[in-house]
Symmetry: C2
Subunit: 471 residues, 2 copies
């Protein structure tokens, strides 16, 4: 299934001389086997694989810099690769070239617990980081579901369930080490909590999806583990009631740590996959962080609001194992949903709107899925106005795929019409490029393109993603 | 007093033809009088004025765009001007040119209370915005002290007393309308709370100090007014005790709304200026926001920590008028300090370090001021690791100025050595340009320069600030 791109037209040849030099530099860590290329030519999107010509495994920033210098010399495309969990085709080798896999750059370089910061190599995953710092009493909150690498999360400006309270990678990245398209190593900032010292290079690279440089080290903010955590689930008769509960909670300034929506299809799927017996109704999962009293206050307030919107009962999960079970089910939703339609592949998309428009946007999108007869679910980080539609399609049925793409296009147009964005957290990759113009306008895209041309004049950094090189 | 720059060498001529066209376009709102040029050729820094050749007052984004197109046609420098409250020479017409004053663009364009956002023209000041939204139950927290314009605050990535809780302009700007150096009008984002849709143009322009484009509209986040606010002051025998109290409070994750340090000189100054009778000791001013219980919990925790560090008593200011009196005194500190040495001018500088290094950095800087025999005070937003040194110097005594500059240079080197930044919130302007290289390294500066060259190829946007055009 390759619904948007014909990569073969775009392929740039990779000279044997470059491959020879890479083999000399990386030895066994440079591979051109089909299996390795296939593994790196796909992500968790619905795109057919597009294979790089070779894959190298880097162990240090200096190796990445040497690698980039070589590729630049041969005008060869470079695709950075972390955990391969992206959803919009980010790591596909659209124009061929060499993939640099950073997963073996997996050292936690420094934990400054007293400053609430940690510095890691790009291949460290969020779970690994949290494992390594668990004795400090601190934690790293950003949680996009998948056990993504921190470099990948910075590159795609990832967020997820905790963002409503703790922000996204944009807010939680203090500084980066980046290898530029020229193979220079730079630091984009310092460990100071704030700075007015010139252009915000950290935010230039966060979310740039490997198109401007390669992030090799990330310094992130950590947070004290909350004194108290409690979680609750609450079913509603309609999606509208659930979403309106969230809207009012946010407007009242309740500092929710997480609030996730699953529509009735989502609930049905996780019931089956995780052997739960939740009522098959739209569901909100809440998590509260704070002092014992603070958590109690928040939860009472939310319970009162939920009642106004016809809540079908508020159920507590105070024991850690119950909380873990619920959040594991939520995180498995992607795979659980796939099992709603055996043999199907998922088209997963997201958008984000100002919170006051959330109910309207969710309901219209859901109605559209139903009209199109698509097996689907809506799940989302609704506290931020961000939600996902996952549509299970037959990969061999172009009409089915076209129906799903139609829903996606109309959802994005709807979100943009509400002064929202075509992607809250998945990123642009290949799948949202045209929507980017729709959202930002040609003038803003021209500014983005000017930045791309200035920082990557040979168009070797993950070429063909986010922006087209020419207008 | 003009301790770093000889502007006359850099002056670019402004053709009469341009002035004629500007008069035709702006009528009475284009001025070349000396008084008007003098008013716009200075800020609150210690630099001697550097006058623009003309000043225009814009009323709309479209007028700004037309103005930029004209100036671009004549390769003429443009200096955007808001409230004129910057501290590092940002608005000085280093190379001559035309200043565009945005203070009459002072309309609050939209308040979306239900989304917690407001969109304003760039000339709206923070106090004006808070006045206009006070009946919504919301407020805009960023408070750099001066009643700065929102456009100026975005341009300098301003923060101030509330940043420890609510973040800076970086976190609180959702989207901007910008006029590019080519005179195109762009929007940098949407009102969605988060987005992964391409390069983060909002953060490219926030903090770019008018060197990449002119911010004409700003959409900011608003917050529900807290249910309860309380403030307290606490004196300490030493600056070290005060700072260590803050460090421990932050490390414990107490969500302070504000925590300000004034050293004994700062206290002496505001006592005199605001007719207070605070003990002449290092002082912390705290503000707590939250629920009634939450505020009480926070305050009790902080009080316990302060006791460990020899606090000389914790005094509450629960009545709004007492709080206002204290915060007014804090905000007047700049002017109060000037009166410590009549006839003097202030050199005010700032830096920001990881919180664990704060005490060390403050104490070494204070010792340096004392060794140099400078009339000075240290005040700061210590919860962020950010502090200011204000030195009162004789504007006619080059040796005095050199002593102050020496303190500044050593403070910056110290902060950078601690993985901190040469400016936490004042910005670069003219005063911190050399430190920028020291902080970021030539490689990162080259990336900043590439962005500047790409977005402002004629070098007309506030030229000579932040970066030199050539290496």
């Amino acid at each position: 299934m390759n619904h948007l791109v014909d990569a073969r037209k775009l392929k740039r040849p990779v000279p044997q001389a470059l491959l020879d030099e890479l083999k000399a530099l990386f030895g066994d860590r440079c591979s051109t086997t089909l299996a390795m290329r296939e593994h790196h030519g796909r992500d968790e999107s619905s795109y057919d694989p597009m294979l790089p010509d070779a894959v190298v495994f880097a162990h240090s920033t200096e190796e990445v810099a040497a690698f980039v210098k070589l590729c630049s010399q041969y005008d060869t495309p470079i695709i950075p690769y972390g955990a391969g969990t992206s959803l919009e085709g980010h790591v596909l080798a659209l124009q061929g070239g060499v993939t640099v896999d950073l997963s073996q750059m997996n050292q936690v370089l420094a934990v400054h617990a007293e400053d609430l910061t940690a510095t890691v190599q790009a291949g460290v995953t969020r779970k690994q980081l949290n494992q390594e710092i668990k004795d400090t009493g601190l934690f790293f909150p950003i949680d996009p579901g998948a056990d993504a690498s921190l470099g990948g999360m910075a590159s795609t400006r990832a967020s997820g369930t905790n963002a409503v309270r703790y922000g996204t990678m944009k807010e939680n990245t203090l500084t980066l080490t980046v290898v530029t398209a020229q193979g220079e190593i730079i630091k984009t900032g310092t460990r100071a909590k704030k700075s007015s010292a010139g252009y915000d290079l950290t935010r230039v690279y966060v979310g740039s999806e490997g198109t401007l440089g390669i992030i090799t080290e990330v310094t992130v903010r950590l947070y004290p583990q909350p004194e108290a955590i409690s979680a609750a689930i609450c079913s509603f008769p309609t999606v509208a009631d659930a979403v309106n509960t969230v809207i009012q909670t946010i407007q009242m300034g309740v500092p929710l740590a997480r609030v996730e929506l699953l529509d009735e299809n989502g609930v049905r799927a996780i019931n089956a996959h995780d052997k739960l017996s939740l009522p098959v109704n739209p569901l909100l999962l809440f998590e509260f962080h704070g002092s014992e009293n603070g958590v109690k206050e928040q939860a009472e307030l939310v319970q009162d609001i939920a009642k106004e919107f016809h809540a079908l009962g508020f159920e507590w999960a105070t024991r850690p194992e119950d909380r873990t079970r619920l959040w594991t089910a939520r995180h498995n939703a992607y795979f659980a949903l796939l099992q709603l339609r055996p043999g199907a592949r998922a088209i997963s998309t997201d958008c984000c709107v100002p919170i006051s428009r959330l109910a309207e946007c969710v309901l219209a999108t859901k109605a559209d899925c139903e009209e199109q007869g698509l097996t689907h679910a809506i799940i989302g980080h609704v506290g931020d106005g961000n939600f996902h539609v996952q549509m299970m399609v037959d990969p061999n049925d172009p009409a089915d795929i076209a129906r799903a793409e139609g829903v996606n296009q109309r959802m994005v147009a709807r979100a943009i019409g509400m002064d929202g964005t075509c992607t809250g957290e998945h990123g642009v990759g290949l799948h949202k490029m045209d929507f980017l113009i729709q959202e930002h306008g040609e003038g803003a895209i021209a500014v983005m393109r000017a930045i791309k041309h200035a920082l990557d004049p040979k168009n070797i950094m993950n070429p063909g993603k986010i922006l087209r090189w020419e207008q």
